[in-house]
């Protein structure tokens, strides 16, 4: 999964400003950040500090108001929505806090989805889906529907869906936020295994238990990267 280009992600002076009626909200202010291939970065900070905004920019779900974003050597800050969709499809894997599996699709179809959007052939897709599900230990649940799985299993399916296309970077948004501690720990273990296998992971969390388990922590406060963690994220 790791790529020779270094850094894999370079944010330089990224700002994101939201305009609602007459109010201007600076969600991110001149954020600069390099992430090397194979790194496991935890983005931490209190609610409203801009973690999710940063993740959405990293995942090309949104574009910055200013600044540059280079992903694997390619500038991507000013791409059109259609171009961003193409990059997302090939380079980025998402793990959401609420799992975000599609209820009408079974496990196989959920995991297959990014590959379909990439236009891969059915046989190739099948092999990749099986490999991803095997990796998260859920091959035996391949024809189950999300409602038939526990929360932890659902999140593992979501992890399989995120890694199935072998993206350049995995973006995880509070991946344990909706899980109990036992399931949360299992998912974290899975992420560490992926990281150990070479995956680049950027994880947003405000859970102090997991802040220290990433390779590097980035602390956000009021939309800016700060040197020291806010008091509530101090690891005991």
């Amino acid at each position: 999964m790791a790529l020779a280009i270094d850094p894999l992600i370079r944010l330089d002076g990224i700002s994101k400003i939201f305009h609602t009626e007459e109010v201007e909200t600076h969600a991110l202010s001149r954020v600069s950040l390099d992430i090397r291939a194979g790194e496991f970065v935890a983005v931490c900070g209190p609610s409203g500090c801009g973690k999710t905004t940063l993740l959405s920019l990293l995942g090309l779900l949104d574009s910055p108001s200013e600044g540059s974003y280079v992903l694997a050597g390619e500038p991507v800050a000013t791409l059109s929505p259609q171009q961003r969709a193409r990059v997302r499809c090939r380079a980025i894997g998402f793990i959401f806090q609420a799992f975000n599996l599609i209820g009408d699709l079974d496990v196989y179809s959920n995991v297959e989805l990014p590959l379909k959007y990439r236009g891969l052939a059915p046989a190739e897709r099948r092999a990749m889906v099986h490999e991803a599900l095997e990796r998260v230990g859920l091959l035996h649940r391949i024809h189950h529907f999300p409602a038939q799985l526990s929360g932890g299993q659902q999140q593992r399916v979501a992890v399989a869906r995120a890694v199935v296309g072998k993206p350049l970077v995995l973006l995880a948004d509070e991946p344990t936020g909706n899980l109990d501690s036992s399931n949360g720990a299992q998912v974290m273990t899975l992420l560490h295994e992926l990281h150990a296998g070479g995956a680049t992971i950027v994880m947003v969390t405000h859970d102090p238990r997991y802040v220290g388990r990433a390779g590097r922590n980035v602390f956000l406060f009021d939309g800016r990267i700060v040197e020291r963690p806010p008091a509530e994220l101090e690891v005991a």
């Binding site: 999710t52 993740l55 959405s56 995942g59 779900l61 949104d62 929505p81 259609q82 969709a85 193409r86 997302r88 499809c89 090939r90 980025i92 998402f94 959401f96 806090q97 609420a98 975000n100 599609i102 989805l113 990014p114 959007y117 990439r118 869906r161 296309g165 948004d173 509070e174 936020g177 909706n178």
Partner: protein, 821 residues
């Protein structure tokens, strides 16, 4: 109990007013459905269901003859047959004879052609109606020769006499005969078998007991419609059984008049059925069609309510949590549906009032009892029933679904609606049903449209462009020795002078006369062909016969195919030349030259031979849908008729603009001559196709409504579903889906339902198409091109209806996937 009901109503009204867009769409949809149904039902009720406005109408029957040998039906009866039936059928309490005519009313200002009827003295008694002013006919009136006393309609009394009650005893001139008014019928009285276009205005007695030996006593002078009244307790079947015995006896007694191979037999049927004629299938098709529109409307509103139930899930769950029972919730939701239905029904009733009156005017020309069309009490009752029915139909399932809230799930969720699987399946099923029903309607309308196009494309056999037509009727007084037009020479002189006067009108290029215009059946003449006797089992040879001026064919643009035209005669009446049409030439002289052959009218030897001098092209003489029949043309200079039509070829694009000048030219020849039915030939053609045109227009209108409503329905469901799936679409976008992927997803989902609906609709349309068979011309009820076209049309509309919300779905912000509610 009523308190609770009114509380629910008040709550329902408040709740609906809080969602004005939803309420407006639902009310409008229901108004269209209920309004259209009420309007059509007002026609169906007035024409088919409402009892005839006579005393004990169920006891009234009509008797006409049929010929099983030739298939001819609805043939009137003769005076001797009337006497035989009156005496031979004991189930009858009484029997009246009716002979509709039209007659010239003069001496009261502008001469006018009016509808009249000669009737047996007991006609009004059989119907159980008496004149409002004056007296009824008596047996003594029947002792006189035809005429002398008349009863007039309320309308004529008002129009021509200003409602003067002193009109009784006054004299009017009808076909130049002075006749004394003895009675005025009540307002609203309608003659039996009256057409909406020509209301009956005068009734005169027939001298049945003192018949004219030259006419009334002739057994095969079959001109009378018979109206009977059954004795109390006797049935129409009993009457029919006695008629069967009678017909067997008459066939034995008069084998010349009733040959066994023709199978003459009188048929009794309820008078109401005879009055309605053959319009029943067309009306029932329209009622079915408009019922389908209402079904689609109900499906739409049910879908809207399902969507609303989703939005209100939290409110309903809260009520349940507070102790409301499911039955109570269903009742409340149903009350809301009924409030909606009442609002839609109220607006629909306004639409129906307008539509019913418009329909009445539209169908007045061809529909029996069209004058009776109104929003009567039974029609209003039907509307009330529809309101109740639709309220329950579209409200019950959403109410049952809506009341089944997942209490815990809904209250725990922060209010984000989610359509459960059963509800989604139900909505999908409603869309499938809507599409299927819309397709059935479109297929019916498409078949009618294609059929009509075929009908309009038929070769008339003449050029209708810039052609004015009119009718003339020369009066026939009862005292034939006194008539101004009693001799052929007088009639011929009038027609020739009229033609000369009309040809002199500026703008007129040519003018000709004919005894009956095309597209109006003339009646068959029996023929004897020289040198070709009839085989024993061969049906009689017949042809339609028309009298024409020699230039008729040139004026009409009818080609002369062989031989020569009719000679323009001086005074020689010995020339018995005729022209025949191509169909007659091919039927009676197949492969041979008919020129010079001779035929004789009738089966006997007492008529002169007529020589075929030419063959002309076929003309649609009977109706647009009827193929040309055998026809022969004689010169009006040899034999003339009291009734003639004139055709006037003009240089003006709109021949009707010359109508007044042409009428004035004819009046200059005889100021007392009414000239009537002045209209272009194009209008004659239009009238000949009016029934089909109206059916087609109404079906197209209903199909259009169905198409619009189903498009709205599909759009509504897809828009709602797309809104419900915004999160899912956001996730798909985050996972790399592009706009085309989302478009494909949403459109594909919608079109899958549409395709299922189309297939179901095609099957349904195919099964129902038989109902249209009798109204189609030139295509079969299973015409594949029509089915394919309407399926493509509906599919395209549905595609647009799904594409709009799909396009909107592509603009979902993928950031939504990161939001956790």
């Amino acid at each position: 109990m009523m308190d609770v009901f009114w509380r629910d109503v008040r709550f329902g009204v408040r709740s609906l007013l809080r969602s004005p867009a939803f309420t407006a769409i639902a009310v409008l949809t229901l108004a269209i459905g209920i309004g259209a149904n009420t309007a059509i039902f007002s026609v169906v009720y007035s024409v088919l269901l409402r009892p005839l406005a006579y005393a004990e109408p169920e006891q009234l029957l009509s008797i006409r003859a049929a010929y099983s040998g030739t298939g001819a039906q609805d043939i009137p009866t003769s005076q001797p047959e009337y006497n035989d039936i009156l005496q031979g059928v004991s189930a009858l309490q009484d029997l009246a004879a009716v002979y509709p005519i039209s007659i010239n009313l003069t001496g009261l200002g502008e001469p006018q052609r009016i509808q009249a009827s000669v009737v047996s003295y007991n006609y009004f008694r059989v119907l159980g109606v008496a004149p409002a002013v004056g007296r009824d006919f008596t047996p003594e009136d029947d002792q006189n020769q035809i005429g002398y006393v008349v009863i007039i309609s309320h309308d004529l009394w008002q129009k021509r006499f200003g409602g003067d009650p002193g009109v009784i005893g006054k004299t009017v001139r009808l076909d130049d005969d002075p006749m004394t008014i003895i009675g005025i019928m009540p307002r609203g009285f309608r003659h039996v078998l009256e057409s909406g276009a020509s209301p009956m205005e005068v009734w005169a007695p027939i001298a049945l007991d003192n018949p004219d030996p030259n006419f009334l006593n002739v057994r095969n002078a079959q001109v009378y419609d018979l109206i009977g009244r059954l004795k109390p307790g006797r049935t129409i079947d009993e009457a029919q059984a006695e008629l069967a015995v009678l017909s067997a006896r008459l066939q034995e007694e008069y084998p010349q008049i009733y040959p066994a191979n023709q199978g003459w037999h009188p048929v009794a049927k309820p008078l109401a059925e005879q009055v309605v004629g053959d319009v029943r299938p067309a009306l029932l098709v329209l009622l079915g069609a408009v019922g389908f529109v209402l079904l689609i409307g109900c499906a739409n509103v049910a879908n809207l309510l399902l969507a609303r139930a989703t939005v209100r899930e939290r409110e309903i769950a809260l009520r349940t949590a507070l102790g409301s029972s499911r039955g109570r919730l269903v009742r409340q939701l149903l009350t809301e549906s009924l409030v909606l239905a009442v609002m839609g029904g109220g607006l629909g009733l306004l639409l129906a009032a307008w539509g019913s009156s418009a329909l009445g005017r539209l169908v007045a020309l061809y529909l029996p009892r069209a004058g009776e069309i109104e929003l009567s009490l039974p029609v209003l009752g039907f509307t009330a029933f529809l309101i109740l029915l639709t309220g329950v139909v579209f409200g019950l399932i959403p109410a049952l679904q809506g009341s089944r809230a997942d209490l815990q799930g809904v209250l725990k969720d922060s209010g984000r609606g989610s359509a459960g699987a059963p509800r989604t399946r139900l909505r999908a099923a409603l869309v499938v049903a809507e599409v299927a029903v819309a397709l059935m309607l479109l297929a019916g309308a498409g078949l009618m449209l294609r059929s009509f196009q075929r009908l309009m494309a038929v070769e008339y056999g003449f050029d209708p462009d810039r052609l004015l037509t009119l009718q003339m009727w020369l009066p026939v007084p009862n005292d034939r020795s006194q008539g101004r037009f009693r001799t052929h020479a007088q009639r011929r002189d009038f027609y020739e002078r009229a033609l000369t006067a009309v040809k002199a009108v500026p703008g007129v290029r040519d003018a000709a006369v004919i005894s009956q215009l095309p597209l109006r059946a003339q009646g068959n003449l029996q023929l004897t062909i020289e040198g070709r006797p009839l085989a024993p089992d061969e049906p009689p040879r017949t042809a339609e016969g028309r009298l024409v001026s020699p230039n008729y064919f040139k004026t009409m643009g009818i080609p002369l195919l062989a031989g020569e035209g009719l000679p323009a005669l001086g005074d020689s009446l010995s020339n018995r030349s005729i022209l025949i049409n191509r169909t007659m030439a091919e039927k009676y002289w197949p492969g041979a030259d008919p020129i010079g052959r001779r035929v004789r009218l009738g089966a006997g030897n007492d008529r002169p031979w007529l020589t075929v001098v030419g063959v002309v092209g076929d003309v649609r003489q009977i109706g647009l849908a009827d193929p040309p029949k055998e026809e022969l043309y004689s010169s009006f200079q040899v034999v003339s008729s009291q009734e003639m039509a004139m055709v006037v070829r003009t240089g003006d694009a709109d021949p009707e603009r010359l109508g007044a000048a042409v009428t004035a030219a004819i009046r200059s020849v005889d100021p007392e001559q009414p000239v009537f039915s002045v209209m272009s030939m194009e209008r004659v053609i239009e009238n000949a196709s009016a029934e089909r045109r109206i059916s087609m227009v109404l079906l197209l209108l209903f199909a259009g409504m169905a198409l619009l409503l189903s498009a709205i329905g599909i759009y509504g469901v897809m828009a709602y579903t797309t809104t419900q799936r915004r999160q899912e679409i956001g996730i798909r976008l985050a996972l790399g889906a592009g706009a085309p992927d989302v478009l494909r997803l949403v459109v594909g989902q919608g079109m899958r339902l549409v395709v299922v609906g189309l297939v179901a609709g095609l099957v349904g349309a195919w099964l129902l198409s038989r109902a249209l068979t009798s109204q189609l011309y030139g295509i079969t009820a299973q015409d594949p091109l029509t089915y394919a076209t309407v399926a493509l049309l509906l599919g395209t509309v549905a595609l647009v209806a799904t594409w709009v919300p799909a396009r909107r779905a592509t603009r979902v912000d993928p950031m939504i996937s990161l939001r956790v509610e």
